[in-house]
Amino acid sequence: MGRYLTRKLIIYIITFLFAVTLNWAVPRFAPGDPIKMLLSRFEVMEGGKDILESFFVKTFGLDRSPLQQYVGFWRSLFAGDLGVSISQYPKSVFNIIRGAIIYDFIILLPAIILSWIIGNKLGAFSGVNKKADNFLMPVFYFLTSSPYFWFALVISYVFGIVLGLFPTSHAYSATMRPGWTLAFIWDFFLHWFMPFLSLFLVQLGGWAIGMRNMIIYETNTNYAKYMESLGATERLIRNYGFRNGILPQVTGLAISLGTIVSGAVLTQMVFSYPGLGYLMVQAIKQNDYFLIQGCFLFLIIMVLLANFVIDIIYMFIDPRVRHSYSGEV
């Protein structure tokens, strides 16, 4: 058990190192020397010179060796200093991200959890009911095949424009003042619903298909045969099958997180929903390298943490991990 966790932890640490290094290296070595460009832009801004002194010297000081710059980058990272945004000058990257990250959580967490739970239940239902399966499977396939942003557009069109039920952009109306008032919460909810719905539905298809296949597989195993031979009802066999089938679904969740987060980026673009994804893409359009790097970093950290949490949960539900001594299942 300990070996399993340690092994995972090492992978995540290495991944983090890799991501940070990539983050640091790419702008430095990309063609067109974006750094020089960045420097010159900052120079003309008010107070830009001071920025140059603090952050730049540490990471991009051109008179220092790459290794010193790399170390400096890490130092500023741990100090929480991610630089200053150009597009939202003079706000610090860290503060901008702090404000945006809540929007990611608020659409991602419910979408992931609900789609996983409901998707698995629907998939299990489909796996045992042939008639329902023939109807549901194409629907699931359609959902999972849809590009996240296109599906978001369809949702936006149908519910937002044709039916006019929901606003199609931003997190809340420009006229509203944020606060714990009923009016604001309702307004926030209306803006939240479509981005959430599109993320929820696309993922739902994938989980349903996965569990449906697992149920079919599990009800054809030797243990299922044995149970049936000894007079177990189909219901009990299905329950046992579900309990076993849920395991790869948990692992699958960890693996899919990267894709889901990417999907959220696209969805945010469609709805101009101000999460990290939206922020990052806007930053790219404006060549705001510090902001880009900051967003990327935070997204990676979120994904790594989520992965680790899922690994721990998995450990508790699969007895084979707890009792065998190999790291890999």
């Binding site: 890799f18 067109g32 069109y157 990267g258």
Partner: protein
């Protein structure tokens, strides 16, 4: 023609071509590919050309309507389809090739150093959200051609194939007929070729289809964000333009819904083929 005898010998092939899902999937897929290949030849317009009045819904002159500036949507879609499919195909092939080698070597030497190292590498690439990585890479490259695009997309897509191939290799390795070859002191390469590779073919083919789906979606996502090939038109770019011009708010559903629908249908068709083939190669799932 050998007739009935041929089918009896290639029983799997018979099942493959008579499976309803496979037939449906192949039909839709080929139809869309035909659109990409022949569409540009059939359309009288050029995709950049101002072909008519803007803001036109689908009609006889403009099958998919026109954009707000008057460009023919059908033309844009078929040319864009070409570009997107090409990137997806290239990327899928490269990713599958890398994944195949990595997964196979890893599975063959399972438990030893090459396996541990490759698996660590695979896990690292898997955890990183691929689109985010792609965005970073793409953003810093001022010029992106189709090949560059494909390589970048492939670079984040291969881990999935590697993992699948590895697990299949592992399960094959422990099967009796492989051990038999080993006991008979057959040369390693021959074991690989005859016992393992021959049985992996069907599996790898299905994995390739899934890989292709993934790379297409990644490519389109990048294109939508404006990070696709810097020249020319692509499907994602068509949709990006539509969004930028507020097509939906203006009621121009044909500009957004149709291009994406074609892509979605293509991916659905590939899934159908995959599920159908799964039934063929795993007889237990066959509907007899």
């Amino acid at each position: 023609m050998a007739g009935k005898d041929f089918w009896k010998r290639h029983e799997n092939l018979y099942f493959a071509v008579s499976n309803k899902k496979v037939i449906l999937g192949v039909t839709v897929f080929l139809a869309i590919v035909a659109l990409a290949i022949f569409g540009p030849m059939v359309t009288p317009y050029d995709y950049e050309e101002f072909a008519g009045r803007g803001y036109q819904p689908p009609s006889k002159e403009h099958w998919f309507g026109t954009t707000i500036m008057g460009r023919d949507v059908f033309t844009q879609v078929v040319f864009g389809l070409r570009s997107t499919l090409l990137v997806g195909f290239l990327a899928g092939t490269i990713a599958s090739a890398i994944g195949l080698v990595v997964g196979f070597v890893s599975g063959f030497f399972s438990g030893k150093a090459p396996d541990e190292g490759l698996m660590a590498l695979t896990n690292i690439f898997m955890v990183i959200p691929s689109l985010t990585l792609l965005i970073i890479l793409s953003a810093y490259l001022p010029y992106r051609g189709i090949a560059t695009q494909a390589i970048i997309v492939a670079a984040t897509a291969w881990p999935w194939t590697a993992r699948a191939v590895r697990s299949q290799t592992l399960s094959l390795k422990s099967q009796e007929f492989v051990n038999l070859s080993r006991i008979s002191a057959a040369p390693t390469f021959r074991i690989i070729r005859e016992d393992i590779a021959a049985n992996m073919f069907s599996y790898v083919f299905m994995v390739y289809i899934l890989q292709f789906n993934g790379t297409i979606l990644s490519s389109v996502g990048l294109e939508f964000l404006g990070l696709g090939p810097t020249r020319g038109i692509s499907l994602g770019l068509v949709l990006q333009n539509a969004v930028n011009w507020n097509a939906l708010h203006l009621g121009m559903w044909w500009w957004t819904i149709i291009p994406g629908l074609i892509l979605t249908l293509m991916i659905v068709s590939l899934y159908f083929i995959n599920t159908g083939l799964d039934e063929v190669f795993n007889p237990r799932l066959r509907e007899m």
